[in-house]
Symmetry: C2
């Protein structure tokens, strides 16, 4: 009786089709200016049907965010090179994150969007997703632990704390660069300078005594 399974698959497929349509509209009209009607039209479905597959607009947004995190996760894990130092690996991961943000604008926008949303307002599953293997967090914690045992990373700070600090600092800077571009242009500061500077601070801090 594979009918139930097939139906299950078809339902999954339709959900995916809607998310695909949403991505296309977002790409055309931007994340914030897209209405549910737009998405329904693009998916060649009625609005009611969209609401059959997603409880709310936010949940549709969240589906994109999930895809984004999964892609980012793969990319970050993909550059890991166990022969290299942990700190070198971290920097490489930071760099592919930047590349990811440039290449998959919509995905990055989705991540930014949920970065400034309270967990309380979103599906409770978000907390779970953030910590699952679909997210880079768990992998990064392991990496930091490895760095500690190799004597590369300070061991007087909780690994989870380190990862969340690094993550939120990078997100903070990317958000600033993304939303306040004009400010940097005004001072002839390029995105590259900002990001090089960020990694420099993250690695070495601002103290003169630590200047290379």
């Amino acid at each position: 009786m594979g009918i139930i399974e097939r139906k299950e698959r078809e339902k999954e497929q339709r959900r995916n089709d809607i998310v695909d349509a949403a991505e296309r509209v977002f790409l055309r009209k931007g994340f914030e200016n897209t209405t549910v009607d737009d998405v329904a039209a693009e998916a060649e479905l009625s609005k009611g049907t969209v609401y059959l597959y997603f409880k709310s607009k936010d949940e549709l947004h969240y589906a994109i965010n999930l895809r984004a995190m999964q892609k980012l996760n793969k990319i970050i894990r993909g550059v890991y090179d166990e022969k290299k130092d942990v700190v070198v690996n971290l920097e490489a991961m930071g760099n592919v994150f930047i590349k990811f943000a440039e290449e998959f604008r919509i995905y990055f926008e989705a991540i930014l969007h949920f970065n400034s949303k309270s967990l309380a307002n979103i599906e409770p599953c978000m907390t779970h997703d953030l910590l699952s293997d679909e997210s880079p967090i768990s992998f990064l914690v392991e990496l930091i632990d490895k760095g500690k045992s190799k004597g590369e990373i300070r061991s007087d700070m909780n690994s989870i704390l380190i990862v969340e600090l690094l993550w939120s600092q990078i997100m903070g800077v990317l958000q600033f660069v993304f939303y306040k571009q004009e400010l940097f242009k005004m001072f002839n500061i390029t995105s590259e300078q900002v990001l090089t500077g960020l990694f420099e601070i993250l690695k070495n801090g601002v103290r003169k005594s630590l200047e290379k």
Copy 2:
């Protein structure tokens, strides 16, 4: 001919009254859940009148953001102690920023709100405001310059860049703590630990060799 001036003052006063009313409603209902009708009712004015003084809801929000930045600015400048090291001053400023965020929740929410908005969508004056003496930015740039000449701060990085990096990193972490509290609770990480950790990273980075 003081009539025009008096009218000017009255207009200013009314604008202020509306912002005062808005603050009260925000405190009751939260920043995001407040409608313009709510604000008008609280100010005992019609909605149309509110729109006479503010072009849009966003501009009303922005007025709160301005007040918030002015208050923060005063507080940050207030703790400056020229006898102390620049890095010590920076840390003290970071700490009063945290206290500010706790004490003036609405103001902090307003700052967070505009932190994740594109400059392009807001009044063009925002860029100006961000750099004026009403904002802590210009003061911090001077402080970093002083740190450089005293040999405390690395001089191989543009001072504006340093300030914007520090600012956006701190905002990133505060945003994360604010919106993702549940995550920290789950790992028994307190806000204090996060912020101590942040300052530690900002000062020293994550390298073992720099561990105190």
